[in-house]
């Protein structure tokens, strides 16, 4: 990993970031900001899932569960122990990371497809558990009255984020930028390369001295931690969380963002998330037909560009069994 030189690529990123930061000043439409904030939150999730699915090649269909665990961890700490957001986000990340790895451990011994189903099952179980443990989690009504983040501004006293869009926009934007930076560092490091090696050829990776199981757990833990952070932010922003926000559909959407962006690509994850995050809003005019068009988009895009926007075509990601083209 070369030290972070000011490459042209990095220049573009910084410019993009500055432009994004200037946006609320140029167009303070709270609705637009809110949509973008949500899309950026998705981007954080996509970055996390990208570590698991994109870099390491593990098929994960239950990512929303870690989002939920992060959200509920902060929510519960806020409601029952009065923890402020900036403190609560840490255990949120840690607990989600723990679950990420813990789930991973037994599941990693099975074949790839089965890992997908196990993660799907786990995602559903988490949701059902949160729905049914009324006493602790508020059941289907969820948790209400979670504290918003508060920031002490010099000269202005304590600023409560409240329900205005702008502070959340900046919070999510900066968090995303930091996480993107970390992911980029990781992907170019010994750890990140080892993850990709596992994806490309697990057997060769093991024989090259890479502790495959440990690294798969690490990937799931890191991915979990990132989802946990996103969850805490989500809970703090909404003030209210219900189990229904963390369903399979969300897991699938994040997965689609990672795949469409290109497996393993940081850029791809962010742009894929922005695209798919904003799309339902853009399609709002079509109301009933939204999911229909969304589903169709997924099918068509993956068909036209199998490697995603920024993916490479050289990965050996076990394609379905081939057949001689001459067969009928």
């Amino acid at each position: 990993m070369s030290p972070t030189r000011l490459t042209p690529q990095l220049r573009w990123w910084i410019l993009g970031l500055l432009a994004a930061m200037a946006l609320p000043l140029l167009n303070p439409n709270p609705y637009h900001l809110d949509v973008l904030t949500t899309a950026l939150l998705y981007a954080i999730l996509a970055l996390g899932l990208n570590l698991i699915v994109g870099l390491t090649g593990l098929l994960h269909l239950g990512y929303a569960a870690f989002f939920a665990i992060g959200a509920y961890t902060y929510g519960l700490l806020s409601l029952y122990a009065g923890w402020p957001f900036w403190l609560g986000v840490i255990p949120a990340a840690a607990v989600a990371a723990l679950f990420g790895a813990a789930l991973g451990a037994p599941a990693l011994r099975v074949r790839g497809d089965y890992l997908a189903i196990i993660t799907l099952g786990f995602g559903e179980i988490v949701r059902i558990v949160f729905t049914n443990l009324d006493r602790w989690t508020g059941g289907p009504n969820g948790l209400l009255g979670i504290a918003h983040p508060q920031l002490w501004m010099p000269g202005r006293g304590v600023l409560d984020f409240g329900v205005s869009s702008t502070p959340y926009y900046y919070l999510v934007l900066i968090t995303m930028a930091v996480i993107a930076g970390v992911c980029m560092r990781l992907s170019r490091s010994r750890v990140g390369r080892a993850w990709v090696a596992i994806r490309d050829d697990e057997l060769a990776a093991a024989c090259t001295g890479i502790p495959v199981l440990q690294l798969k757990l690490l990937a799931q833990g890191c991915g979990g931690a990132i989802a946990g952070i996103a969850g805490a932010i989500f809970a703090a922003k909404q003030g209210t969380i219900t189990p229904d926000s963390f369903d399979f559909i969300l897991s699938v959407m994040i997965l689609a963002m990672v795949v469409l962006g290109g497996l393993g690509s940081i850029r791809g994850a962010i742009i894929g998330a922005l695209f798919l995050g904003v799309l339902p809003e853009v399609l709002r005019g079509f109301d009933q037909y939204r999911m229909l068009i969304f589903g169709l988009c997924m099918v068509i895009i993956i068909r036209l560009r199998p490697q995603g926007l920024f993916g490479t075509t050289h990965g050996k990601q076990s394609p379905a069994p081939s057949h001689a083209k001459s067969a009928a």
Binding site: D113, V129, A320, P321
Partner: protein
């Protein structure tokens, strides 16, 4: 009702549910067997079958046909329609991505699932739809347990189809080709077996069976909703894994077993947790006995 009678009643109910699961599970199992794809859209195909048979029943109800003719005709109609749907899905959505990484096929399946579910909502409305009671509400009391005519239809219908499928797979040339293709697709292709056609037929049969499952589901529960496909699909997939994915008798056994377990859970625990049962079984199976009860039948991957 004595506790034994209660138990046996739950058993009977569970078997009915299980028969439906079995029919749907077969679709998952067969398709996974040939191209190692978890066809997420299968649950929606089942619902399409349910809605199509509902439409046909409503259309033909007034013709004064005997009810069993009505059911059979509508069933065949739904099966045929869904078989075509399955063929279309395979040809236009799945075949183009067969060479791509497996994740792409999964995304395609999920996209199709969204598409069909939404299409059903747009076409038939978001509210529950009632299945008209075309089957006479007869029940028989056998040893204190009641069995309805509908249950009997479910048992007989699914049994007939499953037996038919076994015969097809075991005794016909097509069946042999299907079994060979699910063992080693590349070898079959090199041997001149028209694998594309075999895969297409597999999709057609699997979807047809799923459609029948949808019809029976509609008859048994009386109402259907566009959203049912997701849960049913997941459970049927659990059943397929339970029996051993790719294994046809396995899907049948898995379906019956899951239905039984779910019926018992609903009877003795609360019905809230019965969905959790299905997922727990799934996870436990995959962790401890991923090959299923009867062993999986999937091509060895390099």
């Amino acid at each position: 009702m004595t506790s034994l009678q209660l138990f046996t009643q739950q058993l009977a109910n569970g078997l009915t549910l299980g028969a439906i699961y079995a029919l749907i599970a077969l679709g998952y199992s067969m398709i996974y067997g040939v191209i190692q794809l978890i066809n997420f859209a299968h649950g929606e195909v089942v619902m399409v079958g349910a809605y199509v048979s509902l439409t046909l029943i409503l259309m033909l109800m007034g013709l004064g046909l005997p009810w069993w003719v009505l059911v059979i005709v509508c069933g065949l109609g739904a099966m045929g329609g869904c078989a075509l749907l399955g063929l279309a899905m395979e040809r236009f959505a799945y075949r183009p991505v067969r060479q791509a990484p497996r994740l792409n096929a999964l995304i395609t399946a999920i996209g199709l699932s969204f598409f069909f579910q939404n299409a059903l909502m747009v076409g038939f409305g978001a509210t529950d739809r009632q299945f008209p009671s075309v089957v006479p509400p007869v029940r028989w009391e056998i040893g204190g347990i009641s069995v309805t005519a509908i249950q009997l239809i479910v048992w007989l219908g699914s049994a007939a189809l499953m037996v038919g499928l076994q015969l097809l797979v075991m005794s016909t040339k097509l069946g042999k080709a299907m079994r060979a293709t699910s063992q080693d697709l590349t070898a079959c292709a090199l041997l001149g077996i028209p694998v594309n056609r075999i895969i297409a037929v597999t999709f057609a049969i699997g979807s047809g069976l799923g459609a029948m499952g949808g019809l029976l589901f509609g008859l048994y529960y009386g109402t259907i909703n566009f959203h049912d496909g997701y849960l049913i699909g997941l459970k049927a997939f659990t059943a397929a894994v339970l029996g051993g994915i790719g294994n046809i008798p396995g899907a049948m056994v898995g379906g019956l077993l899951l239905g039984l377990l779910e019926g018992l859970a609903a009877g003795y625990l609360s019905s809230q947790w019965k969905n959790v049962i299905a997922f727990l079984i799934l996870i436990v199976m995959l962790l401890f006995k991923p090959r299923g009860l009867l062993g999986e039948r999937v091509a060895e991957r390099a």
